[in-house]
């Protein structure tokens, strides 16, 4: 049941925030000797009923999926403005669309698809939308992208295009909604997200020794950093990239992340810092009781928590050394 005001939702979220896993719990889980012990620690938290239901630690994904679904339903129940909130779930819908499209072009009759149950749009709707001629069953912004892909694939089938076109379409839609609703928080948040993703794409393309032609399809407009910046940056040395970013909000992150990348040759630390940066931003604005900030914060905190548990569980199940797990652990929300 949607609520008329944010204050109600924020109040409820505030209570639940205290139930998120704290730093110390995560630390304990990372230090646990085995996956069973991680589950034991998890059983002391709000995850207890879910932990009790699964048989072996290998089914941990089940816990995570059910917890996320619960969070989604809860957020749907308490948020007054579903337009803005649904932007934060859009990635799951687009994920499903990607899977269905790829499956269609692979023309296999595989029923066991990696679909996410977190999407706001039912999978049947997406399927029906793909099958009918004008794609009328699915939302217009998806239908447009699908048509674009179909036009492209008449000439040549390039699976990456499915992902890039749909990613672009997703952010097109997100920013159009942001403009319409004039929500400064959502706009800021997605801008930062796009910037960070673009920066990461830049570093990945550079690491693979690719040029701007390769990178330009992967970049997403709408960020604070302009596309022309990346066209220039890909030719630059890493040190120059750090210095050009120095006076942007990403100065510290870029300096530390890129330095670590140059030292270790991987972007593990950079990715962790990306997540931490966004989390930090949300945390800094979550005290507004009259907006979606706290609710989004809770959602992201929960997504982050799920990610942490997954990293720890995968690590423990595969006997990954504790420090390898630790270097991937993001900050917690609370």
């Amino acid at each position: 049941m949607p609520q008329p005001s944010y204050t109600y939702g924020v109040a409820r979220v505030r209570v639940l925030e205290t139930k998120l896993l704290g730093r110390d719990r995560i630390e304990r889980m990372a230090d646990a000797p085995s996956a069973e012990d991680v589950l034991k620690i998890l059983a002391e938290t709000s995850y207890a009923p879910l932990v009790a239901e699964i048989g072996s630690p290998h089914d941990y994904e089940e816990i995570l999926i059910r917890e996320m679904k619960r969070v989604r339903d809860f957020i749907g129940e308490i948020s007054p403005d579903s337009d803005i909130m649904s932007l934060f779930f859009l990635k799951y819908d687009f994920h499903n669309l990607k899977v269905l499209l790829k499956n269609m072009y692979l023309s296999n009759e595989n029923d066991d698809l990696a679909l996410s149950e977190m999407g706001a749009i039912p999978i049947e709707v997406l399927k029906a939308g793909l099958e009918d001629e004008g794609h009328k069953a699915m939302p217009w912004f998806m239908a447009d992208a699908v048509r674009q892909i179909e036009d492209m694939f008449v000439i040549k089938i390039d699976p990456q295009k499915i992902d890039t076109v749909l990613d672009r379409a997703m952010y097109d839609y997100i920013f159009s909604v942001c403009r319409k609703t004039r929500n400064p928080f959502a706009t800021q948040y997605f801008r930062k997200q796009v910037d960070l993703i673009n920066l990461r794409s830049l570093l990945r393309a550079k690491r693979l020794g690719e040029n701007f032609d390769f990178l330009k399809d992967l970049l997403i407009p709408y960020g604070d950093l302009d596309i022309s910046y990346f066209a220039d940056a890909i030719e630059q040395a890493y040190e120059n990239i750090i210095s050009t970013l120095e006076y942007t909000p990403y100065g510290k992150l870029a300096a530390e992340g890129i330095q670590d990348f140059l030292r270790n040759g991987n972007l593990t630390a950079f990715e962790k810092m990306m997540d931490d940066y966004l989390m930090e931003y949300v945390r800094s604005v979550k005290h507004n009781p009259f907006g979606i900030e706290a609710i989004v914060g809770y959602l992201l905190g929960k997504e982050n928590e799920i990610k942490l548990i997954r990293i720890i569980m995968v690590g423990k199940l595969n006997n990954m050394p504790a420090e390898k797990i630790r270097e991937r652990l993001r900050d917690v929300y609370v």
Binding site: L64, H95, V99, S201, N266
Partner: protein, 218 residues
């Protein structure tokens, strides 16, 4: 060594002698074949070992990378990212020949399309750790195919060596001694008959001479 059950005749003797000749020549040829095969085999096995170690090391690395990727991405997103391969690989199996052994030769050709990106996923939803894993894996595929061919070759060669070795041994320790033994037996038997004949003749001659002498005296 058992002697063959043959009639000790001159015909048989010639036949056996011919067989012995063939057996000796066959034995020599097979022995040469075996030696050469073993030489080639040792060479191949060494190569095989090197290749296998290489593949295993790289594979461990790639799987480790994938594990890391798996840890930071949810399984659906990871699966979506790699469900549609953007590269095609063509494999043409044919056969080669090592010392008369038909061995598999696998030809590997990657069809790269310049306009199609080698990464079948976008960079915005995937983790950077995936790039490394994909890169390592795509480097291993040709090696793995080569290894598959080489390992099968080694197996087939080993089988063939085993067979040849059995044949050489059978010739060396059974057929040839048996033939030699039989030949000796027939020769001795024939000689014995010869001697028997001669003694009989001599005896008859003695008897005849005795008879003649008795007639003359009478």
């Amino acid at each position: 060594m058992a002697v063959m059950r043959v009639n000790p005749t001159r015909m048989e003797l010639t036949r056996l002698k011919k067989r012995l000749q063939v057996a000796v020549r066959g034995h020599k040829l097979l022995k040469d074949k075996r030696d050469e095969m073993v030489r080639r085999f040792v060479e191949l096995v060494r190569q095989n070992k090197r290749l296998r170690e290489q593949v295993e090391e790289k594979l461990t690395q790639a799987l480790k990378d994938f594990l890391m990727t798996r840890a930071v991405m949810s399984s659906e997103v990871l699966e979506e990212a790699i469900m549609f391969p953007s590269r095609r690989v063509e494999i043409t199996p044919s056969t080669g020949n090592i010392m008369g052994v038909v061995v598999p030769v696998i030809e590997y050709r990657e069809e790269t399309d310049e306009d199609v990106s080698p990464y079948p996923y976008s960079f915005s939803t995937t983790s950077a750790e995936l790039d490394g894993a994909i890169l390592t894996l795509s480097g291993i595929l040709p090696l793995m195919i080569e290894l598959a061919g080489m390992e099968k070759t080694c197996q087939m060669l080993a089988d063939e060596i085993e067979k040849t070795r059995r044949r050489v041994n059978a010739l060396e320790y059974i057929v040839i001694p048996q033939l030699e033994e039989t030949i000796r037996y027939i020769t001795m038997k024939l000689d014995e008959d010869e001697r028997g004949n001669r003694t009989r003749l001599m005896k008859v001659k003695d008897m005849l001479e005795e008879k003649d002498a008795a007639l003359k005296q009478a």
